[in-house]
Symmetry: C2
Subunit: 363 residues, 2 copies
């Protein structure tokens, strides 16, 4: 139906073209209305906000001709069905995390984050100038989707724990709210992973149904009040070093868009991608300060646990690579990029950051 | 003249409005041609490339109606005159580094980088979600400019040195190519700063007219071949922790633009800002590897030198703050933001990066 409307308008405008001598304009600015289903609730203003920023830019840049209405998870589509609904064309696009769909195909995980993957700057470098967008879309196109990076949280926290973890031993039998590949890795370390929606984490932790829960980082965690039901706040969330959200678009709908609208979607998505990380970086410091003032005990994960998790993750990637050529092709590219990036990271970036952190009290 | 053309077109389109029922389109998509003078040569494909990406997005998003032609430094305006030329309206916009103009007013420096300032993620957080864009534009508007962040190099390197620097002592009398506030700080440490254009660094270092020179980082430095005339490659370039390039627009021309074109400029600038950093992050690792293979000796600046430079920088900021209320207002805001950001940086980000760097050989 949208297609027909667009063609009718283009034809009408075409007949007036010689009179106003700007035929391209009316043809290329059709009125289009899309729906976007977010994988997140509105309370996550950082992540949900990236979808809102995206739709606002598209509207402003097209003088309101291209309207994309955003809906929170569950309003029009239940969260787990977003990718399928978009692929089917029922809803034109989604803003979600590709790794939620790694059960369909493990390659989806590489579009968001894998344990011990790239950090936020690394993901952007890989996506925009390391061939990542094309490589991911080669895969996504087989799924009926065209996808853009759509936000980043930065390194997440390792969650809230009711008791202290001093070594790998202490993980045995711990019931933790953690999903995806992170959950798989933690399971191999002795943890019992639990799938619990965000809104139910607090009561589950409070009544001791679970012993630990990971959510995002200081700003989002503070809103759930998790510091009130678990004292130990661990870092880093090694399963999400630079998780990238994704704008998923139905492939046929994408191909139908005028070139100018495609350009606007690409630039609006890139803007939202950068803005979400900037928002987390602006909000997390104040939230961390207030969580610590409220009694949160910061703890780094023990070295033996980190090392074992890294080993287990690499074994998982070897297994997935052997089973799944889609995963292997993208993983090999991404991990080579990561290793080279970290060689450079240790030079100027790390030394500058460490100096600034050490000298903060003098600044 | 552009104004007249725009009004005539809008009027013509308006008379047809009821016929095609899309009056806003023709009015809001006038044909506009601007010129952009870059502060950089085309050989710096990373930085110059950000201006090209920006102009391409603006053209694509407007179906070619808004054309901005980019010119390399010196082609239409000599590099040092870019800001004045744009403020006067002779050229509509520039892509340059605001800190080149700190001699006019020290507040310009805060738009790009000050020694021991924010890193790249910090600059983005401050600009986009810490009030930085509005605060800077409050100042830039007094200069006849409207400005957007327009790219970042990440932490730069500390340059190429012909002899090793083991302590502050070794800096005395060293003739170094370094400009801006970084040069001012180095001067206080005993260095003799020299102003030399990029193209003349190689011969000056080769014949010993200077003892050291800073340029950018591995990717750009390799193109100048500086490793062939100085062996020691120092880090970090503490005078440029997250230098932000800037798109400067004549304020009156900015205010005349239709809202949709303003939205497109803002999103294209943000996209170019992110893309330039991603390009550096993608290109620097390979270049560093090849420089090391070519004999470059990596060295961290000595601790006593870093500490003294930090002390000298803080004294300079105290002096500038006492003299210049524009500087003080922005500096106080930026430095408070930096200190809070670094409290958070040391938790999840630093621990994740350090783990990944240490375990790189096992990955």
């Amino acid at each position: 139906m949208m297609k027909r409307r667009y063609l009718l308008k283009a034809a009408a405008a075409g007949s007036l073209a010689t009179a106003i001598a700007t035929p391209a304009i009316a043809q290329s600015s059709p009125k289009i209305s899309w729906r976007l289903t977010s994988g997140f609730p509105k309370t996550l203003d950082t992540i949900y906000g990236a979808a809102e920023e995206f739709t606002r830019i598209v509207s402003d840049a097209t003088d309101g001709n291209f309207q994309i209405q955003a809906f929170a998870a569950g309003e029009i589509v239940p969260m787990p069905e977003a990718a399928d609904t978009v692929a089917a064309g029922t809803v034109e696009m989604a803003h979600t995390a590709s790794y939620y769909y790694w059960g369909k195909n493990a390659a989806y995980a590489l579009g968001t984050a894998i344990p011990f993957g790239l950090n936020a700057r690394g993901m952007n470098a890989w996506y925009y100038h390391g061939g990542g967008i094309d490589l991911m879309n080669e895969f996504y196109h087989t799924q009926g989707l065209h996808v853009f990076p759509g936000g980043n949280t930065g390194v997440q926290m390792g969650g809230w724990w009711r008791k202290e973890i001093k070594s790998l031993e202490d993980l045995q039998g711990v019931k933790m709210r953690i999903g995806g590949m992170g959950g798989k890795v933690m399971e191999a370390l002795g943890v019992v992973p639990q799938q619990i929606p965000g809104g139910e984490i607090y009561p589950a932790l409070e009544r001791g149904a679970i012993d630990a829960a990971e959510w995002v980082g200081p700003y989002d965690d503070e809103k759930l009040g998790l510091n009130k039901v678990a004292s130990y706040y661990y870092y880093p969330g090694f399963w999400e070093g630079g998780p990238t959200l994704n704008f998923m678009i139905n492939l046929a709908k994408w191909n139908e868009l005028p070139k100018s609208y495609q350009a606007i979607i690409a630039t609006a998505a890139a803007t939202a991608n950068q803005s979400m990380l900037a928002k987390y970086d602006a909000k997390n410091p104040g939230a961390l300060k207030s969580l610590i003032a409220g009694g949160a005990q910061l703890r780094p994960f023990p070295e033996d646990m980190m090392s074992k998790a890294f080993e287990v993750s690499n074994a998982l990637y070897a297994k997935l690579s052997a089973e799944n050529p889609d995963f292997k092709k993208i993983y090999d590219n991404q991990v080579a990029f990561r290793n080279q990036a970290n060689m450079w990271n240790q030079v100027a970036e790390l030394s500058f950051d460490v100096f600034m952190i050490r000298n903060r009290p003098k600044g």
